[in-house]
Amino acid sequence: MTANLYQPINGQITDVIDESPTIKSFVIAPEHDFQFATGQFVELTLPGEGEAPFTPSSSPRIKEKMEITIMKAGRVTAQLHGCGKGQRVAIRGPYGNGYPIDDFAGKHVYIVGGGVGLAPIRSLFLTLVDRIGDFKSVVCRFGARTPADFIYKDTLFGEWQKLDGVEMKLTVDEGNGDWDGHVGVVTTILGPKDVDIKNAVAVVCGPPIMMKFATVNLLEYGFDPNSIYLSMEKNMSCGVGKCGHCMLGKYYVCKDGPVFTYAQVHKYPNIWE
């Protein structure tokens, strides 16, 4: 008998971390070790209620638990926000391709992230940092609506800023009294001289409007469309390229993505919607 594609494995929420007014991270312990590659996603089920796709934000090195950072955006995410420690959940996956980390070796990795888009980026960042010597540099440009909207504040404002081989700039759309950093949307902290573009790959993840304008900037700076990696947010449901909901042109985002190069998807309409 063929293994059931739709069968989830059971798990439990073991911790909940408030990240921002609308975002929480859930630490989830699956009933057995769970292996994924950074950038792959899972379908998280709230039993009896529904499931939704999320890219784990934790390091794939950790197999006995994973973190999933969730913004309250729809029916299932709102219900998940109401859940606490001990809540039974279920997980299907991992699905999709993840980031091609090995292809990044020997290059600058230029990461542009915004809002809850830092969730997949955190997993990628932790993976890169584990083998930081393999890359020329890791250059991060992260934005949030306000200082309070940044997620992973402790590490983002702290140890991540001090890591060897990492250069990081943060910005907020609107500052407040305590914020002495840059104010402006994330594209205002991007620059053509941030990295040696011919020896760099770019990774973009965030709200669609941010991804759109960041990509426009990167192309203007001279990034090759094949070197711009986008995490596409579509309505992934089955996870195995059958149900059709996440189709982006000929691609099933769940199976062929969720990470695509701009070169792969640019010809399709409404990719940012």
Binding site: M1, G48, G50, C238, G244
Partner: protein
């Protein structure tokens, strides 16, 4: 013997029904539907002239099914062998298409596998194409050349039965006593009948014949206004995707029962407004014309690129079913004509 003769269809169906549950066509209000076969009723035997109204996918990928049970997994109920009589060449092509999706290596759908393995396919030649049949436009034929266990062709005074698989051959040899030999004259008659039906199909579709490959017409017509124009006559009833034997979109949803949680799998339709919408409200295909274009692109371009065959068999069910006026043959024809005209314009300019 791979090809035999039988005088009465009922003898064949009775022999099948002795071994497994059998579905047969029955005409109801001018359409054929599939019903369970009752050998005790003499009038239960009908030779359907064209495809039944409902899509064959119902047998392999039902409208709604329980896809998974948790936290304690439960093995799905065993599927018993079953047979379907009266499938047509377009139906067999639709099974081939569904196989590509649901039997895909490393991504096999166990629910589909179980039904597919237990299905005994008995096809039959079309004898009177319907007004909406357009398989010939897409290089289809009104008779099956493969993909069946048994194929039945009506001839004078009886039926030619051909085995197309090891299961079919075994059936013929196990029931050798009810079959007779096929003289060459009967095979010639079968070929003549087939050619006749093919010719009438081509007559019916004379106005819809495409100037080139459907892929080129749809792909290069991507920016065409045809999609938006035809969308104006579509009332979004979604009937086209429901009756389509190749459309296989589905929706997974969760249920809570007394002693288990379930994941249900149910047909969905890419023509539905919220189909591709994400939780944040983004929707790449808010506009009906965009959804229509996507459906056609999926059928004639994307699926072909991925699996090597078109995802339309020309059965015409969508033409019959739609509540509005959105004829896929017209959309294809107009796109094809636009492409031909474009080609002519370019050639003229070059001169």
């Amino acid at each position: 013997m791979d090809t035999v003769f039988i005088g009465r269809l009922k003898s064949l169906l009775d022999a099948v029904a002795e071994q497994m549950h059998l579905y047969v066509p029955r005409k109801v209000d001018g359409h054929y539907v599939c019903v369970g076969y009752d050998p005790s009723v003499e009038t239960a035997v009908e030779y359907n002239t064209i495809r039944v109204c409902t899509p064959v996918k119902e047998f392999l990928f039902p409208l709604r099914e329980l896809a998974a049970v948790f936290p304690e997994p439960v093995a799905p109920a065993d599927v018993r062998p079953f047979a379907v009589f009266g499938l047509k060449a377009c139906d067999l092509r639709s099974i081939e298409i569904l196989d590509k999706v649901f039997l895909e290596k490393d991504f096999e759908d166990p629910l589909y596998v179980a039904r597919r393995e237990n299905m005994f396919v008995i096809s039959s030649d079309c004898t009177e194409p319907g007004e909406s049949c357009f398989c010939s436009v897409l290089e289809g034929k009104p008779y099956a050349e493969g993909g069946f266990d048994l194929n039945v062709s009506a001839v004078d005074d009886g039926f030619v039965v051909q085995a197309g698989s090891s299961k079919g051959k075994r059936f013929l040899s196990e029931h050798a006593s009810i079959f007779g030999d096929v003289p060459d004259a009967l095979l010639a008659e079968r070929d003549k009948n087939r050619a006749g039906v093919q010719a009438s199909l081509e007559r019916i579709n004379a106005d819809y014949q495409l100037g080139g490959a459907s892929k080129d017409a749809v792909e290069q017509g991507y920016e065409s206004e045809v999609f938006d124009e035809h969308a104006r006559t579509c009332v979004e009833c979604q009937a086209c995707t429901r009756v389509c034997p190749t459309c296989h979109c589905f929706y997974l949803y969760d249920t809570k029962q007394e002693d288990y949680f379930g994941k249900m799998k149910m047909w969905d339709s890419c023509m539905r407004t919220g189909y591709a919408e994400v939780a944040g409200g983004g929707n790449p295909r808010k506009i009906l014309g965009d959804r229509l274009r996507h459906r056609l692109m999926h059928k004639f371009v994307y699926f072909l690129e991925r699996y090597g065959m078109e995802m339309c068999v020309g059965c015409g069910r969508c033409v019959d079913a739609e509540a509005g006026d959105m004829d896929i043959r017209m959309v294809l024809k107009r796109l094809s004509d636009e492409l031909t005209d474009k080609g002519k314009a370019v050639a003229k300019k070059a001169k």
